[in-house]
């Protein structure tokens, strides 16, 4: 299933836009999404992968909830119709 993913902040200059279409299969997880992005844009690895796991420097938001705070974490299965967004972890004032 092609997945429409919004991207924010310092990810944008790397992917070259405000959103991307990712060719993920049915049953794909948050981890699969991250791997797919890193495969397509290898320079994202330093930001998105840490010690072989999804880095805490990045959030994958599934319907507005960071996957980190969902019960299945990086193994959360992505479903058609969900709003998906990826962002580096950032804060402001």
């Amino acid at each position: 299933m092609p997945l429409h993913v919004k991207v924010y902040a310092t990810l944008r200059p790397v992917v070259g836009g405000r959103s991307v279409e990712l060719p993920l299969e049915e049953g794909a997880t948050v981890r699969d999404l991250v791997d797919c992005m890193v495969a397509r844009w290898p320079e994202l690895e330093v930001m998105m992968i840490e010690d072989g796991e999804v880095s805490r420097r990045v959030h994958v938001f599934v319907d507005g909830r960071s996957a980190r705070h969902l019960p299945d974490g990086a193994e959360t299965v992505l479903l058609e119709g969900q709003e998906i967004a990826v962002s580096p972890a950032v804060a402001g004032g």
Binding site: Y8, A9, R57, F61, G64, S66, A89, A91, G93
Partner: protein
């Protein structure tokens, strides 16, 4: 410039008599309350908690911290501390830029203004001396013009001007001091205290001076260590790489919008939907950015200088479109016109207003208009040109602007509907909806200066940028988490280091810098204890000023009306159990500091 002599050069200025005297701060106060925020609160306490904030008897303190103006990273800060005309609490606010450094270089650690001048006055600070000058020719002028005239008059080079605008002169309760055109002492209405005192400006002239410390090699080493942490690509402070550096504070608009924490239409909604993109930091950088200015000793450069490219304010150059005003004057007012937000922020900088309170008072007025509670035309959601007109009227107290100049809480009460003011202790809320970021809700409720995001920036944990990570929708554990942030920031604000240093540094680094600069060894635990002491001192002052049980609360909207959008959909803010946790952590009794706690912390 010996850093270990911090506190010895505090000027006490009697505006009525036009005299001043240099008096060192009591050594015990400097040891216990550090400087800037903490020391200022101690001076304000000494002046009495019962003082009318809009009387000449209120004291207006401008204080550096022990690191202000030094080579320490992110140390270009100073504090303004007074009793707030907006809240009746003690309030402190901090400016960046170069003014703090110039004050130190001019030979002063602080300026404490007492009484009121007979006629408009400004003071000039230079070479260890202070002089009084007639401000009649700049009274009534905007801050931009005042800065231009006074800088030119006093040499143009190495000059900082910190001024109030028409809003302060007209005693708006959320008037701000603004230095160097665009760095404000926002929140709390410090500018109105200047207006009462007929103090238009503080002009500081000073060239760079190098710090002297007893161990220069250790000083160099600790600065190198902290600089490495700030530069680390894993941190959002990393120059030109981290999100804060590249996009400024407004980097989070799209995220808070997504998670359901970006209040919209006076917090009737928790998301601005797809329209948030138009006011985000990414859009600022992609469309109107012209420069990345910075403050003294800061490699981060989070400020964003812009030029409006089209629309009624085409050609306007200003800084900086921050997250807070992008929210308060943007989604909060259902306004997605970025050019008008830049214009409104620039108005705040020129008229001397706090943009957070401005956005909230306008959004309350818009809601009142929608509900038919305003006599006359009122103001429609998203009417950007109307917002600009009303802001001018507010600063000059014309028409309904006279009521709105009192701030959101008093204005809503004046309209007969206090429930539409999103305020705590009389001060309006910042840009994190407590239904989507519950720790921030607890922070608003327990802030010692009224609703505030900066007393304890739990958002750093709720957005996952510091090692202590927290689910924004979980309320459990937020009491202890908030106390940690509040105490750390109370110390940082007293040093006075930029709040954003805490994205890269912690209590260990604060302790090392303090120890080397002042030649007094302290541990990270002692840093946290000093922060706790400052926080309790503020609370003690507020207790004396009449704030007690029931004062730490939130508007009903956040407690009873569930979030309607984003990741927080369906949630309210569970303040009650969080408060129980928090008071237990603090050792307070229903928001009051007990005698035993005061004694334990050696307060006052």
């Amino acid at each position: 410039m010996r850093l270990d002599r911090f506190g010895e050069t505090i000027a006490h200025v009697d505006l009525a008599a036009r005299t001043w005297k240099m008096k060192p701060a009591p050594e015990e106060w400097v040891r216990k309350y550090v400087g800037a925020r903490g020391l200022g609160v101690r001076y304000v306490l000494e002046n009495g908690a019962g003082v009318d904030p809009l009387s000449p008897e209120n004291v207006l303190c401008f204080l550096n911290g022990p690191l202000s103006g030094s080579e320490a990273n992110m140390s270009g800060r100073w504090a303004c501390v007074t009793k707030s005309p907006l809240t009746g609490t003690v309030t402190d606010s901090h400016q960046g830029g170069w003014t703090a450094a110039r004050l130190r270089w001019a030979g002063f650690d602080g300026l404490i203004f007492e009484g009121a001048a007979q006629t408009p006055t400004y003071v000039l600070v230079q070479d260890g001396q202070l002089s009084f000058h007639d401000a009649s020719d700049v009274w009534g002028l905007g801050i931009h013009e005042t800065v231009r005239i006074l800088k030119e008059r006093h040499g143009g080079k190495d000059v900082s001007v910190n001024a109030i605008g028409p809003a302060g002169e007209k005693l708006s309760r959320f008037a701000a001091w603004v230095n160097e055109d665009d760095r404000a002492f926002g929140r709390g209405g410090t500018g109105a205290v200047g207006g009462v005192k007929k103090l238009k400006a503080i002009v500081i002239v000073a060239g760079h001076r190098k710090s002297e410390v007893s161990d220069p090699e250790a000083w160099k080493q600790v600065r190198r260590e902290t600089l490495d942490m700030i530069r680390d690509e894993a941190n959002i402070t990393s120059p030109k790489k981290g999100g804060l550096s590249v996009y400024g504070t407004n980097v989070i608009t799209n995220i808070t919008n997504r998670i359901g924490a970006l209040g919209t239409r006076n917090s009737q909604s928790t998301s601005f939907g797809e329209r948030a993109e138009a006011i985000s930091g990414e859009t600022v950088v992609e469309t109107i950015l012209t420069g990345n200015p910075t403050c003294h000793a800061c490699p981060v450069a989070c400020k964003k200088e812009v030029e409006v490219k089209d629309g009624p304010w085409k050609g306007l150059k200003m800084e900086s479109v921050e997250y807070e005003p992008a929210w308060s004057l943007g989604s909060n007012c259902e306004n997605d016109d970025l050019g008008s937000i830049a214009k409104l922020i620039d108005q705040c900088n020129d008229l001397g207003l706090d943009p957070i309170e401005l956005g909230n008072v306008l959004s309350a007025y818009m809601e009142a208009t929608e509900r038919g509670w305003v006599k006359g035309e009122g103001l429609a959601w998203g009417d950007a040109e109307g917002m600009v007109r009303m802001t001018d009227a507010l600063a000059l107290r014309e028409g309904d602007g006279d009521l709105l100049a009192e701030g959101a809480a008093r204005a809503a009460a004046g309209l007969g509907h206090p429930e539409i003011a999103m305020a705590v202790k009389g001060q309006a809320v910042p840009a994190y909806d407590p239904r989507g970021m519950k720790g921030m809700g607890l922070g608003y409720a327990t802030s010692n200066r009224g609703a505030c995001h900066l007393r304890g920036y739990v958002a750093a944990a709720e957005l996952g940028v510091v090692p202590i990570e927290a689910d924004p929708l979980e309320w459990k554990g937020k009491g202890a988490l908030l106390k940690t942030f509040q105490d750390l920031h109370a110390f940082g604000d007293s040093m006075d280091l930029c709040k954003f240093s805490a994205f890269a540094e912690g209590a260990d680094e604060y302790a090392k810098q303090y120890a080397v600069a002042l030649g007094r060894a302290v541990s990270a635990d002692e840093v946290m204890l000093a922060g706790e002491r400052v926080y309790n001192l503020e609370r003690y002052y507020n207790n004396l000023a009449g704030f007690g049980s029931g004062s730490d609360t939130l508007p009903d909207r956040f407690l009873e009306e569930p979030s309607d959008a984003g990741g927080s959909k369906g949630h309210v803010c569970e303040l009650g159990p969080m408060l129980d946790e928090y008071y237990a952590e603090r050792g307070w009794e229903e928001g009051v500091v007990p005698e035993a706690k005061l004694a334990q912390l050696q307060i006052p």
